[in-house]
């Protein structure tokens, strides 16, 4: 028998209080002389016997009540094998443990665990999520219990592998044992190698079921400007049943509610229509217990209209961006002969269409332009590529010699997952396009389209891209194809979206140059970690931070993984006998009061 709060055992001395009160009461009881108690006893032996027994029983009940009350408060733990071990305790404090009262249970189980070992066992206690590496030191039982109490639930996810790497075991005095206390989600066990010869136990906390919002994103920003725009809400149902529910979108005074049904074990995408002026808000899935997964904060910082400067001769590019006056496109286009004559700071994207070379001043201007946020430059190589231009492009690609194929070249490989080519996925539209003139490009970063002659056609970098040809009839017949306009639109947007449309998760570090103010006024500087979901704002911009969607999958590790990893489930109740006897003692104490009352009535 062990006690989590042995100090309360001193209270057992108070069991004498009812006896003292009883004796005091007896002393105070009126003494009445009687001729012969012998006669009373003889004539009433049975009844008096019962009365005396009743009195003793009532007294015993009262003493037991006090005793059991303090016994209960001392948190008795039955059984235990009293092993001496060096125990590495990992408490799952990832946000999936926020399901119901899972985390509280985990802490309670961990505290019980500490008393399952011998008093001189040593412990190392750490949380699974977002624990920074620090000094490794073994704790005694009391210190370990204190540490366990101080571990808090986070919105982070976590990897056992990472924790064990950050906190390597040092100098265990006894045989080493690892104990993981948590719901045992698969993702937490990724890449973990077997920990043999050390024993690895899992105190299993029941795994709940969950459904939640995975992502909220604009369905397609490259579309004519309008009063509203569609937003895709991706939801995942990890429940084993069809789940009816509803999505709510809240943004200031705007409120939207939409019913939907989530299919079993798969992702469901729902489209909600938001007014054009609603760029940030909160999408909520109603009716689930893992709160962090029900909320998704969105802040679409992408511009609604891109301001584009085309430098070079007016041609098909300008027409692609503004096909007609009637059709509104998400572009505001200006053309210029040279960069020098334009104030390029007022543009989002600059297209250099067949510009033969850059002056030193133009190079500097472009450099300055690219240091700004959400800015991009797209080069279309014409008949000549000068030295400065080549040098500028070396950041993403090496420009070789011009190529004039016999006949034409077609596209060999296209990254259809790239935003620019996504609509053409599964079609042969792009395969039919002919290219008559192009430059021999060799990518440094990433080529998203290559020609069958083995040359890169389209090379992209962070905020730069270069096309090894111009979109003019003498270079390619793309300009006559239906794919031309959407391809150009998406290509331009694809250069801006990765920067402006970046999604932040709890655990990411801020890459914002300015200090952000987060939920509850918490301020986050550059390179600081987002600790909780919500909106983080600075003067001109708001970013949304959400929890990692994968934590919402409350799927525990399977039998196979457990076998491979040598993980054994540890049932504290079974292993340590009856476990926590507090409640049992409390119930018995209540029973004593009940019995006492019954005896008083008899």
């Amino acid at each position: 028998m062990k006690f989590l709060l042995p100090g309360y055992l001193f209270g057992l001395a108070l069991t004498a209080v009812p006896v003292i009160i009883h004796l005091w009461y007896r002393r105070r009881m009126k003494k009445v002389p009687f001729s012969s108690l012998e006669f009373l006893k003889k004539t009433e032996a049975r009844k008096l016997g019962w009365l005396r027994l009743r009195e003793i029983l009532i007294l015993a009940c009262r003493c037991l009540f006090v005793g059991l009350l303090f016994f209960s408060l001392s948190r008795p733990q039955a059984g235990g094998d009293n092993r001496r071990a060096s125990v590495y305790v990992i408490i799952d404090n990832t946000y999936s443990m926020g399901y119901a009262d899972n985390f509280a249970q985990a802490r309670k189980a961990a505290i019980r665990l500490t008393v399952a070992y011998a008093p001189n066992a040593e412990f190392y206690v750490t949380g699974l999520a977002a624990e920074d590496s620090g000094d490794f030191y073994w704790l005694n039982r009391a210190e370990a219990q204190e540490k366990i109490k101080n571990i808090a639930l986070t919105y982070h996810t976590g990897l056992l592998k990472k924790v064990l790497e950050q906190h390597p075991v040092q100098d265990p005095a006894y045989p080493l044992e690892y104990v993981y206390v948590g719901d045992g989600q698969e993702l937490n066990f990724r890449e973990l190698q077997p920990l043999t010869p050390a024993k690895f136990f899992w105190i299993r906390i029941r795994t709940g079921q969950n459904a939640g919002i995975v992502q909220v994103s604009p369905r397609d920003l490259v579309r004519p400007a309008a009063e509203s725009y569609p937003v895709a809400v991706r939801l995942q149902n990890y429940f084993s049943k069809l789940l009816p529910g509803r999505i709510e979108a809240v943004a200031g005074s705007f409120y939207l509610q939409q019913d939907c049904r989530l299919q079993v074990g798969q992702e469901t995408e729902e489209t909600i229509i938001l007014p054009s002026n609603v760029r940030r808000g909160e999408a909520v899935w109603q009716g689930d217990s893992l709160e962090a997964d029900n909320h998704y904060y969105f802040a679409f910082n992408q511009p609604t209209i891109l301001r584009v400067l085309i430098v070079g001769p007016r041609g098909f590019l300008e027409r692609a961006l503004n096909p007609s006056r009637e059709l509104k496109t998400p572009f505001s286009v200006r053309t210029a002969e040279k960069i020098e004559v334009s104030d390029i700071r007022s543009y989002d994207v600059i297209l250099l269409d067949g510009v033969p070379d850059l002056t030193e001043a133009e190079t500097r201007r472009l450099d300055n332009f690219l240091t700004q946020k959400n800015r991009a430059v797209l080069f279309f190589l014409g008949d000549r590529v000068g030295g400065n231009l080549r040098k500028f492009l070396t950041r993403i690609a090496t420009v070789g010699e011009p190529v004039l194929p016999r006949g034409y070249a077609t596209l060999e490989e296209v990254d259809y997952d790239h935003y620019a080519f996504l609509p053409f996925k599964g079609t042969a539209v792009l395969k039919e396009i002919k290219f008559y003139k192009f430059w021999n490009l060799e990518h440094r970063d990433r080529a998203i389209a290559t020609l069958n002659a083995g040359f890169d056609l389209l090379v992209v970098g962070d905020n730069m891209a270069v096309v090894g040809t111009r979109f003019e009839p003498s270079y390619t017949d793309l300009v006559y194809k239906a794919a031309f306009v959407p391809l150009v639109h998406r290509l331009i947007w694809s250069l801006v979206l990765p920067q402006s449309g970046r999604e932040y998760l709890v655990g990411d570090r801020s890459d914002q140059l300015q200090t952000l103010t987060g939920p509850r006024g918490r301020r986050i500087g550059l390179n600081e970690v987002f600790e909780e979901p919500g909106f983080y704002t600075e003067e001109s911009e708001t970013i949304a931070v959400n929890v990692a969607a994968q934590e919402g999958n409350l799927k525990p590790i399977g039998e196979n993984i457990r076998k491979i990893m040598g993980i054994r489930e540890l049932d504290l109740d079974r292993k340590q006998g009856l476990g926590d006897l507090s409640w049992l003692a409390l119930i018995m104490a209540s029973g004593m009061i009940l019995v006492e009352q019954v005896l008083l009535l008899v």
Partner: protein, 296 residues
Amino acid sequence: MPDPKKYLDPRVLARLSHLDLKARLVVEGFLSGLHQSPYKGFSQEFADYRPYMPGDEIRRVDWKVYGRTDRFYIKEYLEETNLRGYILLDKSGSMGYGEKMTKLEYAKYLAASLAYLLYRQKDGVGIATFDTRIRDFIPPSAKKLGFMRILETVDKAQPSGETSLADVLSDIAQKIKRRGLVILISDLFDDPDRVLKAIRSFKYRKHEILVYQVLDVRERQFPFTETALFYDLETREEMAVQPDFIRSSFQKNMAEFLDNYRRRLQEARITYETLYTDTPYDKALFACLQKRSRLL
């Protein structure tokens, strides 16, 4: 004119201090209530002269003395009788029970009254006081000195010790050789079988037995209400008792206890009277006279 019968009431008597006076008042009060008392004894054995008092019979005047002295004297005789009265007074601790008047006090008045009654009748009267054993024993005597010793013995009797009634009665039965009137005054709080056996042993020795069981009313009714620590007057043992819980069965058992004595003593033709401490003494005295007449 004062009503002598009032002295039959124990509560009135309790106000008086002298035991002999109490006894005299009781007996005279009792006798004056009787019409034509048949119990005026005569004897041929001379005892004493006394001056003539108005109301004395003329025939009892000693004319020879008158001739010599010219004064009227009445000649008194010792009554000739075989009666010897033995009063057995239980002074055990339990007899000390009582609120205004303890059982022992009542028993003492009763014993003194009976002794005086017998003394008045010129019967020899003796007394034995006892608890676990015989404490005092005064052999029967018809003389005034003997009577005074009885009163003295009764007066000094204080409740003490435990009851061992059966054993003591057996001892007394051994001591009393001549046939007589044995008056037992006790609460009889002992094993009834053994007590009855001892009482019957007197009967076997041709004694007339008179049993007065003295009780307090509260011993019969158990009227207590609040839970209290009852302690034994004999053993000083304590016991917490809730009277409400046991009253009815206590009364029932007490009734059985008394009924047992009554029934079995009647079967043995032994006079038995239950006297509560507020019972007038005439009942006791009358029973005594009846027994005495049987012996004469």
